[in-house]
């Protein structure tokens, strides 16, 4: 049977439920710009009814829980795309720097080659002219020093990337520690069937940050999340985080290891992956070609020198110091300082320019690597350009798809002020109405209590 007290009870429960819903709405509005926040929805359900005979009494409303609305699959896709985008972005900015020494066609190694051979061509018009001979030496000097500075440039970009690797690892370790702590709490709440709410949001946000550093695999287990690197090295298992270590490798570059195992080459994606890829693949590839160009050019030019005679009638000496192997380009030096030692003569007389033909042939003949010096260099220019433009294209593509994924997630989880305002009005009205019920029931109760007091005995 219905009673005033049950009406009172229903109204006061409604007040509580509406207050909870208002809380959720208020929290949504407060966090509308918080990165990683997922909107909360008050889960209102009918209370179990009371059945008496053929009467069923509703028992009001129950606030079941406050549910965060998100999409786990989208979150994982976003994490992957974050990792792609951060990798491309890191590569792109490093490769933008790499292409700088190769940017100007009127300067640098390519132009130096031609200037050098031009000075030799000029010498052929007057083989005894000391000014022309000095010009050949200066041009050789410029060529050698541009080789040196180009290689040093690439080396310094590479060591910059190497420092970033160490920083990335430190950031990863900080994040995995924080995630492990949150993971314990979130896991416990999930086991109890509770919505992890803001804690879950925080954890997701940290995982997104982690994916920007390296590619992360997420596995949901009953004890919370397990996070591993792309190749399966554990980062977080339940409440435990596994720190990555950095060690100095034999090449002077920093290696990354986990529990004693070197995982440098298997790390992909994110800033760390991008840094490693440019540091260990792109730049070394260019350096090897630059070294080969320097050493092969020096060798074939020295051979041409040796086939002729200098101004004093002596057999030609090497113009460039012998260099080979890694660092050849930065070690390339001009070996002679006396301009009379340039071997222009083919017969030992000072006035002969017969060997110039052999010296100039180095300009047009293919080096052992397959092309003549200028074409080999042009090839390097095209490679650096291709690397940089590919990375830039990837950045554009992954930014676009990241935006799209974020839009999709935002459509699910984002706080829409119109929606929240509407809810606010609804819950406000409901609260006011429930409060009115309370006061009405109160009045009724008062009437009931007053029922006896105003009655006097009938005469």
């Amino acid at each position: 049977m219905g009673s005033l007290s049950s009406s009172m009870w229903i109204a006061s429960a409604a007040l509580g439920a509406d207050q909870g819903a208002l809380d959720a709405t208020s929290n949504n509005i407060a966090n509308q710009n918080t990165p990683g926040y997922t909107r909360e929805v008050a889960d209102l359900t009918e209370a179990a009814p009371t059945v008496e005979g053929n009467l069923t009494y509703g028992n009001g409303v129950v606030l079941q829980k406050i549910q965060s609305i998100t999409d786990q699959v989208l979150q994982i896709q976003i994490a992957n795309e974050n990792s792609q985008q951060a990798r491309a972005q890191t590569q792109s900015s490093a490769l933008q720097q790499v292409q700088v020494p190769f940017s100007n066609a009127t300067q640098g190694i390519g132009a130096d080659f031609t200037a050098f051979f031009n000075s030799i061509s000029q010498l052929s018009t007057d083989p005894t002219n000391m000014t022309d001979r000095q010009s050949v030496l200066s041009a050789a000097q410029t060529l050698a020093s541009d080789f040196n500075s180009t290689e040093q440039n690439l080396d310094s970009i590479r060591s910059g990337l190497n420092q970033s690797v160490t920083q990335n690892v430190t950031q990863i370790n900080t994040l995995t520690q924080q995630i492990a702590q949150l993971n314990v709490q979130v896991g416990e709440m999930q086991q109890l069937g509770q919505d992890p709410g803001n804690l879950g949001d925080q954890e997701t946000q940290l995982i997104q940050q982690l994916s920007q550093l390296t590619n992360v695999n997420e596995i949901q287990t009953e004890h919370g999340l397990t996070l591993t690197t792309g190749n399966g090295t554990p980062l977080v298992v339940g409440g435990q985080s596994f720190a990555l270590q950095t060690t100095n490798g034999p090449s002077g570059m920093t290696d990354v290891s986990s529990q004693g195992q070197d995982i440098t080459s298997s790390l992909q994606g994110g800033q760390l992956g991008g840094n490693l890829e440019v540091r260990d693949t792109a730049i070394p590839g260019l350096l090897t070609q630059l070294d080969n160009l320097a050493s092969q050019f020096a060798t074939s030019f020295n051979a041409a020198q040796a086939s002729g005679y200098d101004l004093n009638g002596n057999a030609g000496q090497a113009l460039f110091s012998d260099t080979s192997g890694a660092g050849a380009a930065s070690n390339l030096k001009v070996a002679i300082s006396d301009p009379s030692l340039i071997a222009a003569s083919s017969d030992g007389t000072a006035g002969s320019d017969g060997n110039v033909v052999n010296l100039l042939a180095v300009q047009t003949q293919a080096l052992p690597s397959g092309e003549n010096p200028v074409d080999t260099y042009a090839n390097l220019v095209s490679q650096t350009g291709t690397l940089a433009s590919q990375a830039a294209t990837e950045v554009t593509a992954s930014t676009a798809s990241l935006n799209q994924l974020n839009d999709q997630l935002g459509a699910v989880s984002g706080v829409n002020l119109d929606e929240e305002t509407t809810n606010l009005m609804n819950y406000q009205r409901a609260y006011e109405a429930a409060a009115r019920v309370v006061s009405t029931v109160d009045e009724l109760t008062q009437s009931v209590l007053d029922m006896g007091s105003g009655v006097t005995a009938a005469p």
Partner: protein
Amino acid sequence: MRVNPNYTPDILTDLWQSQAQEQTDIQELATGQRVNVPSDDPEAAAADVQNHALQSQTDQYVQNTTDLEGMFQTADSALSSVVTALNQAISLGVQGANGDLSSSDQQAIAEQVQALQSQMVQLGNTSYEGSYVFGGTATQSAPFTLDSTQPSGVSYNGNTGVNSVEIAQGSSIQTNLPGSQVFQGAGGNVMGSLQQLITALQSGNTTNIGTATTQVSTALGYLSQQRVFYGSAVNQLNNNQSDLQQEQVSLQTQENSLVGVDMATVATELSQAQTAQSATLAALAKIIPQSLLDYLQ
């Protein structure tokens, strides 16, 4: 359907893109270059390196051509003086072969021819920018000296070497004739015939003087043939020069089409980017204040 209420990241990306486009366009307009770094167009950047190599090489060929022209002209004008001197020698020889002349007159003529011989040695020692042009490749010491012990009256200290200079891609030009070939050739010996004439004049033998004069004429004919080398070399250089100028023009045209900017296209792109940006900004300004809250009192 629910949509993403937070549109700022998308709009910001759009703004960044149109800003980046504007910057690229402005840079292209300012530099006049479509390719400012290799990544703008890797293939064109590489081709530009090769194009610059060719341009700079062509400039050098022009420089070589100019330098050689001076030397050829010096040698040619020396040979022109040689021709004049030989003509003088011939008329002196004809004069000396006249049987009516006294011995002292013949001696006087012989002395005049000797003076021509010294002049000839000087001409043989013509130098251009410090190098003797008729010494073969031995350009640092005078190729001819008077030497009475030699049958030709002079000794040749040069060699028979020749030099050549590249004046176009794959094309070289011989830059000298050895003095031994020009002045002491088998087809006509300038130095030898002069000495012969001097000896004949000194001896007073008119038959010998006549023979020697004929020798000098032969030498003159031969020398004129040799001189053609320098004349045609100068012609070749002139032709080469105009070829090189054409080459320079076509290389510059090529460079322009490789990396140069099409001003009209870029200017249009720039104004499109600006329009896109102001449209985005206008849309943003309209959208931001709109929410249900604006209509609630």
